[in-house]
Each structure stands twice: as C-alpha cells, then as structure tokens.
C-alpha cells in the first residue's frame, strides 16, 4: 500500500497556488500533509498561516533550493504530498541559542517506526540537537531528513508547521511507516589525512597546525591545476569536499562553503582533532554510488517485503556539481521505484541519516533515499 494518498505539484509559487494544491490533495483524505516549496516561499509569513487555517491534519514542510518529483528536478514550484497514515509533528524552536537539554522533547512511543527531521540549515548546534533527539527515538527506528533553506544562505523562515513558519528550528515528524535508508555519495580520497587541530563548530581553523584555507588551497591547486585566484572559491571547492574518516572506513562528507579569515566554513560541524581527507569525484562515480545504494537497498527488500514510495533528500551541491547529469541520477533512482509508487523529495542543505551502527549524522554532498515498506491501509 502506498504511503502517499496523493502528490500534487505546481510550478507556480504563490499562496493561491498552495491553496489550490492543498484543496486538490484534500480530496484524497490525507492524515497528514507535507509541503515542500522553492525559495520564493520564504517570504510568505502570515499568509502561509492563513492558507492552512482550518485544516485539521498535521502539517509540516520547508523551503528548499529545489524539489524532486519522480524522476524530475524542479528548481521552482510547490510540492504537496498527503499521508495515508497518521503522523505526529513537533517543532523545536531556538536551536542555535537554547541548549538541547532544555528542549521539551519526550520519548516517542514504540509504535513510531521512523522519524523525519527537517532543520533550518543555518542553525548552529544542529549536530548536538540531532544527538539529543536520538535519545528519544525508539529502538530500530529509522531517522532521515535534511536541511531547509535557500542558496542565498541568509537566515529566514524556512520551515512549515500548523503553527506557521519557523526559523532557527527543527521539525520532527513521527511516522508508523517503516522506511529503509539507502545512502551514497561516491566521493573518493584525493589527499590526506590532515589533522583538524583547531575548529570552531562548522569552521575549520587549522589543518596540520597550518591555517586551514592556506593548506586546502595549496593541496587542491597541486592536484587540480585550478587556481583559486582565478575562480570563485566555491566553484572549485564544490568539487573537492572534505571527508571525515570513520572507523568503519565510511567517510562523512563536509562541503567547504567559503573562506573566513584563514579558516574554512563548512556545511556541518567538524569536531576538533578529527582526521580529514580532501576528496574528489566524477559524475559517473557519484551517480553510481547513489543509485547503487538505492538498488542495493531495494534488492535487500525483495525477500521480505515490497518497496512502495520513496523520499529522496539529495544534496544541492551534488546538483550543482553534476549539473545536467543530475537528471540521470534522479532517473536511475526513480527507476528502482515500481509504478504506481512515487519519488518525492528536495534538494537539501545537509542530509540527515541514522546509520545501521546507530550513528545519526549530518552529511554533505550525499543522497539519502528513504524507501517505504508497503503497509496496510489501517496502519497508524
């Protein structure tokens, strides 16, 4: 049985268009609504609240740099999806300024099989909150999601709930549906390791006791023959992310976004004294990694149960890097999802995944696909 009661997409980004889409969606009698919008929706404010007034189902969503529907990437538009089963939405406010321990989270019931997390990508302490959330999640629960916001990287409201729009917040969506995760990035070690001997949350200050920007630029220039003097920093850096080596040989990717002083600002925290690699990749390997992970997950399903709908949180910088090839990645992933099931998702600023070892991580430049296990209509 499908997870989504219906999916509506419109390229027009306006409150009226949202109202129309929701009206159409309501015909499917959803028990919850997800609203994914492109950047123009960040300024809706109170209009959004008025638009959803009177709806008596849980609502959540966010503003993202792009939307994914089936095999298509849509840079602009509104995507609304209804849920067949009940969902529970909660909002954690003031993520940057409040201690995670002061949040009023309560342990989730064991009937919760998965939790989707949408977070303001520009909030600080995201990782600390993710680790805190993990304490309240039941055993064997899957956790996935992504960072909301726009490519302008300016603080603004970017999350939706029935209470309105939110900034510097985190939205938790509890679901009874079981989702299996497929995660892949395809980046390979180019140079390193380097010791991040001095960091400040998401800023790498020093690598190997040398100013981080200086070392990074030198290494990239040596390997690529590209010169930072001649290009915008991110134009080169998006091709050479950092990789945090983990004990199981997996590598957590961190995008260096910009130079600040002599340090490098990354999308996601970099703990002090971690070992970093500088990574490189090519389109084929990246696409292969993402689609391969999905294919592997789907085939692992086959013996026990059927795959239905798919959530796809793909990193916006993969789209920026892959450009036209990105459509190929989406197409290959969507091919794994049998008709009439749907793939919906967004380009995100940081991907959230709870891996099999029980580690909840914020990735960069990675594709996180959540594959629903087909469920009966009466599941709650």
């Amino acid at each position: 049985m499908a997870v989504f009661s219906d999916v509506q997409f419109t390229p027009e980004v306006s409150v009226d268009a949202l109202t129309d889409s929701i009206a159409k969606l309501m015909l499917s009698k959803p028990k919850g609504i997800m609203i994914l919008c492109s950047a123009q929706a960040a300024s809706w404010g109170r209009d959004f609240k008025q638009c959803i007034n009177g709806l008596d189902v849980p609502i959540f969503g966010g503003v993202f740099p792009g939307l994914i529907i089936d095999s298509r990437f849509e840079p602009s538009g509104i995507l609304v999806a209804g849920f067949v089963s009940n969902i529970q939405v909660s909002v954690v406010e003031n993520v940057s300024t409040s201690s995670p321990f002061s949040s009023n989270l309560i342990p989730m019931p064991s009937s919760v099989n998965s939790v989707m997390i949408l977070t303001d990508a520009l909030s600080r302490q995201i990782d600390a909150y993710l680790q805190h959330v993990l304490r309240f999640v039941p055993e064997s629960c899957s956790v996935f999601g992504g960072g909301a916001g726009t490519l302008e990287f300016t603080p603004q409201p970017c999350l939706f709930s029935a209470a309105g729009v939110h900034q510097d917040a985190m939205i938790l969506v509890e679901m009874s549906t079981r989702w299996d995760l497929a995660v892949g990035h395809g980046w390979e070690v180019m140079a390193g390791p380097y010791l991040a001997n001095s960091t400040d949350d998401n800023c790498i200050l020093e690598l190997n006791f040398e100013p981080a920007a200086q070392l990074y630029k030198r290494v990239v220039q040596e390997h690529s023959e590209l010169h930072f003097d001649e290009h915008d920093f991110f134009d080169i850096a998006k091709t050479f992310p950092f990789g945090l080596a983990r004990l199981d040989d997996s590598v957590l990717i961190r995008d260096p976004l910009k130079v600040e002083g002599t340090g490098l600002i990354c999308a996601g925290d970099v703990p002090e004294n971690t070992m970093l690699y500088i990574m490189c990749g090519d389109a084929d390997k990246l696409i292969l990694a993402a689609t391969g992970a999905v294919r592997k997950a789907v085939s692992a399903f086959c013996d026990t149960h059927q795959v239905s709908d798919c959530f796809l949180f793909d990193c916006v910088s993969r789209q920026l890097f892959l450009q036209d090839e990105f459509a190929k990645e989406l197409d290959l992933i969507d091919r794994e999802i049998a008709q009439p099931y749907r793939t919906v998702g967004a380009l995100v600023l940081g991907e959230i995944e709870l891996d099999q070892s029980g580690i909840l991580s914020l990735h960069n430049k990675t594709a996180v696909a959540a594959l629903a296990q087909a469920q009966s209509q009466d599941a709650t």
Binding site: E139, P193, A245, R246, L247, D248, P271, N273, S357, G358
Partner: protein
C-alpha cells in the same frame, strides 16, 4: 585504505579522543563531551559510564552518565555485565548480545565504561589504542570529583557567609537593611553625590501610635503591621533605593538621583512622601484586625551647605540622618501624619531643645522650679479648688514656658523626678494649709500626672510613699491625667487608678474632647471628674457647635456621676454661658490667673 592511512586513522582517533578528555571540570559535562565524541568516531550505538564498583548486581546507583540511557531491560543486563567485569582482573572485555557487541573497560579508581557497537566488532588494534585513554579518563574523573567537592565547600562557605552577612546587615523581621547597611549605603551615596551632580534625600519615617498598637493589640499584631507597612513602603520607592528599618517603628529611606536642582529634588521627594502618607489614608488590613496609623516623615536633602564638608563622610552621614530626625521630630510633635523638610531653624530649635534638657537637670538639682496655683471656682464665682502648675525661670534661659520644657522633660525622662517634686511641694502646701480644706475654702488641689510618670513600673507605690510622708486626708489631692495617658494601656490604667482610689486618691480627666474622646473608655475609667477641653470653651457663646458638644459632655458626665469642670474660661460672655450650667467648677483667666504660692495664700486668706 592503506596500512599507513589506517595507522594514521587510529592515531588520529586516539589523539581526538584523548584531547576530548578533561575539557570541562563538571563531571557530567566532561563525560558527555568524551562519550559523544567516542560514539561518533568509533561508530558506537551507545556509550555509558558506570561509577564505582557496583555493590550488587542490581545496583540502581550504578549508572553515572548519561542519566537518561535507554530505560529497557538492557540496563539490567548491562549492570550485571559490569558487576561481573569489575570482579575480574581484566582491563577490558567484550560481550555479544544479539547483533550488538558490548565492550567494557575499567576506569581505574572510578568505575567502568561500556561501548556498544551494532553489527560489526571493533578491531583489536583500535581496542588497544583506546586502553591508555581510560587511565587519562580516570584522572579527569577524579579531578572533576575533587573540583566538585571544592565547589560544594566554597558554596557552603558562601552560604554561611551570606547568612552571616544577612544577620549583620539585615533586619530579621522585615528583611530590610538595618542601620549598619544603611550607613554603608548612605556613605557610598554621599561619596558619589558630588560627582553625579544629582540631589539625594534621606527620609526619617516614624510610624505614629505604633507603641499604642503594640501594647493594646499585642506584639504579634505589631510585627504583622510592620511587615505590612514595609511591603507598602517598598511599593513607594524604586528598586535601587535603600529602605532600612532602624528602630522599632522607625524607617529610613535613601533616595538617590532625584534631580539636578534643589527645586526638582524637593518636588520629587514631596511626591514620594505624599505617596507614603497615602498608604495610611485607609486602615491597614491585618489578618485579624484593621488598624489606623500614620507616618511622621522628616526629609533632609543632600548635598547641602549645612553638611560640614570638612567632616568625614561617616560624620556627614550621621549629621544627615540627624537632620531628617530633627524634621521628623518636629512634625511628630506638631501634627503627625505629615512630612517636613529639614531647615536650619529646626536645628536651632533642636539645639534649644538640647539646651533645655541640659538646664532642666540643673533646675532639678538647684530647685529652680516654682509651683503656681490656678484657682477653680463654682458657678457663683467662689473658689472651690486649685490646679498646681509648674513654672520655671532659668538663670540662663529666662522664663521657659511649660509648652517648651514639659515635652522635653517627658522625652528625656526627667518628668518623673519633676513630677515627684511637684507632688511633694503640693503635699507640703496642703499640709501647711489644712484649714483651707477643713473650713471648706478648698475641696482639693490637683496635680498633673504625665504619661511617662503614669507608666512607671512602681508609680502607685512611689506616689503613696511620698504622700505618706505628709499627714492629710488624701482626698485633698487630686490627680489629673490626659486621655492619652489612659489610652496608652487602658487595662493597666484602670488597675492603677483603682489602686489609688482605694487610698482616697481621685482622678480627673484633663483636656477631655481634645484627643480620643471615646465614650466607651469614659464609662470604664474610674474617674471623679472630667475637664472640658479649653478649645470647646473658647468663644462658646458664638459657637453653637461647641455648645452642642459641651451640653453633651455635661449630660454624659451627669449620667456617669462625674463632676464636670470647665477650663480655659476667659471672658464674661463665656462665663455667662456656663453661669447656669450644671458644672462643678470653672477654671480660667476670667476668674484667676495662676497664682504664686504667696498669691494663693493671700487670695484664700
């Protein structure tokens, strides 16, 4: 991954985890940092620290951090495993439970730690690299515990110091600063006042009639009133202003920054004073009763040219409080329920008062007082009695009126000795002229008993002792008390009066109508006579209001079988009014001014 990279990776993990130990002196925070980092870098599902060697397999105090570790049966299983592990001479051990691998490590002299990994075990090489970390973790745990002990010790010491400080600088009943604290704050204000270019003010606030409330309603009501008043006074001032309790019913308020000019400061201080007086406009509601009270407030502004800048700050502070006190004293002894700003004239008056007090001592010692007697007449104008009145001519001050020296004597306590002097002199006169009484020329001579005299612990005994020195029927002497004396403590007053009445000593209520004028106590007090206050007598022929009051007093007196005496009668018209009234005696200038002893002798022949 190459051998070299693997080695580097392990070294980096070891380094990273080592560097994450001891980053905080709070044990929980320190462990949290380490465990979170270990979980991430070692891909652990959970990491838990257990404190001390467990006492039993199900020791609920075993868990150390995090406190909210999964509350399922895993905890019990973990506790059992830790218990077994601690008993063994091993530094580490691995246990498998389902898909999960649990690694236990000893933290020397502290406890143990468990790492949980799902699906894949941790390589031995990594385990070996971790072992040195736990010795380091043990040292940090010990350091945190010792730090916590130190923090607790300091906190306890600070709490004791704070308690001592409060005891030293705070009034226990109201929680307000006491005089010591007030002096510190005032000196600080004075030090900064000049630099700020702003005026400040000291309010000396006295609660009127507090003693009466305390004595009649009890100390618990008095205390309740003070707490209630404190709360209301606080509501009149700003958070930073100092309101202190400096005596039983005395408060001092320090106001700072109330204006750049004297005029603006006066305006601001006036506003605050009026707000305070507003508190007592209605009755103060207490738990079991409502009481009426009021404030007498003296205000002194600073900086002031009257503060001698050559004095130390401490002396200036003292002087400033004295100024406010002088102003309060003045308002209390004139109208009460008001405020008065200190002026230099008040200080002069205060200085005069001090001198009067000084000279009173001399007068008593040198017998410089003199008794005058004002005859009382019946409606026909015939002398029937006399009132003894004290007069004082001081060698230095000249004639000092009773209105100037009686309050001073009352306040400084000399009134008791003076009263005894008056009593003795009057007894002596009566003894020398018993014939006046025996022949019916005089019925009695009255003397005034002051409030302080009346409230002396052995008033009755001392009075009788003096009278017994002389030999005359006690009824020849009468004692005049005011309404205030009786009302201070009516139960005690009745008891004292009855004790003296038993010795044929009778009481007259002086100035009736000027004070409380409560008819209920008029009924209760064992009086012989009431003296209608002079304010009702003056120009009674022109005031129908006073006539109504006087008629009522005469009627009530008759009803209670009290003699009615009129005082302060000065004109023929006033006499004409009383001529046919049923009054026992009339006293006033119209008939006689107070006469010297010789004058009285001559008058009575």
């Amino acid at each position: 991954m190459s051998e070299m990279s693997r080695t580097l990776q392990i070294i980096s993990i070891q380094h990273e985890l080592a560097m994450s130990i001891g980053l905080d002196l709070n044990l929980d925070n320190m462990l949290q940092l380490f465990l979170e980092r270990a979980k991430k870098r070692l891909s652990l599902r959970s990491a838990v620290v257990f404190k001390e060697a467990p006492r039993s397999k199900n020791d609920s105090d075993l868990l150390c951090y995090p406190y909210d570790h999964r509350l399922d049966d895993t905890n019990d299983w973990l506790s059992e495993q830790v218990y077994d592990f601690i008993q063994r001479e091993l530094t580490n051990i691995c246990r498998q439970r389902g898909d999960n691998f649990y690694y236990f490590f000893k933290i020397p002299k502290f406890g143990a730690i468990s790492f949980e990994r799902k699906f894949t075990p941790i390589d031995d090489i990594v385990i070996n690299a971790l072992l040195p970390l736990f010795r380091r973790l043990a040292v940090s745990c010990q350091a945190c515990l010792e730090h916590q002990n130190l923090v607790d010790e300091i906190s306890n010491r600070k709490a004791v110091e704070e308690q001592l400080r409060m005891q030293t600088y705070q009034d226990v009943l109201t929680g307000l600063p006491n005089r010591k604290m007030l002096n510190i704050n005032l000196q600080s204000l004075l030090t900064n006042a000049e630099d700020h270019g702003q005026y400040g003010a000291v309010f000396f606030i006295d609660l009127d009639r507090f003693k009466l409330i305390n004595d009649t309603l009890g100390h618990s009501v008095g205390d309740e009133l003070l707490i209630n008043i404190t709360s209301k006074l606080k509501g009149c001032v700003r958070r930073d202003d100092t309101l202190a309790r400096v005596g039983g019913d005395e408060f001092i308020l320090l106001l700072s920054d109330i204006g750049p000019t004297e005029q603006s400061a006066v305006a601001k201080a006036t506003k605050v004073a009026e707000k305070m007086l507003g508190i007592t406009r209605d009755s103060i509601e207490l738990a079991h009763c409502a009481v009426f009270t009021s404030f007498s407030i003296g205000i002194a502004l600073f900086p002031s040219p009257e503060l001698n800048v050559k004095k130390t700050i401490a002396e200036q502070a003292k002087q400033l409080v004295k100024h406010a006190d002088v102003a309060m004293y003045k308002i209390k002894h004139t109208s009460r329920n008001g405020y008065l700003f200190y002026r230099q004239e008040l200080q002069i008056m205060s200085a005069f008062r001090s001198e009067v007090e000084q000279r009173l001592h001399v007068a008593l010692r040198e017998d410089a007082f003199e008794l005058y007697f004002q005859p009382m007449v019946n409606v026909a104008g015939e002398v029937v009695a006399a009132e003894a009145l004290l007069r004082w001519h001081d060698a230095k001050l000249g004639w000092v009126g009773p209105q100037d020296f009686i309050p001073v004597a009352e306040e400084c306590g000399l009134i008791v000795d003076i009263g005894q002097w008056v009593l003795r002199q009057t007894c002596e006169l009566i003894t020398q002229h018993l014939d006046w009484f025996e022949q019916g020329t005089l019925r009695y001579i009255s003397i005034n008993i002051s409030p302080r005299q009346f409230s002396q612990p052995h008033f009755v005994e001392q009075l009788l002792e003096i009278i017994e020195e002389f030999s005359f029927p006690h009824s020849y002497l009468r004692l005049e008390i005011t309404e205030g004396v009786a009302m201070e403590n009516i139960t005690s007053a009745i008891s004292i009066m009855k004790a003296l009445i038993a010795h044929e000593l009778f009481f007259m209520l002086d100035d009736f109508g000027s004070g409380y004028s409560s008819l209920s106590y008029l009924h209760r007090l064992p009086l012989k006579s009431v003296k209608i206050d002079r304010s009702f007598v003056s120009k009674i022929d022109q005031s129908t209001d006073n006539q109504v009051i006087v008629e009522a007093i005469i009627y009530i007196s008759q009803h209670f079988s009290l003699e009615c005496v009129v005082e302060g009668l000065e004109t023929p018209e006033e006499y004409a009014y009383f001529h046919k009234k049923d009054v026992a005696a009339i006293q006033g200038f119209h008939f006689y001014k107070p006469l010297s002893r010789i004058g009285l002798v001559n008058t009575l022949g």
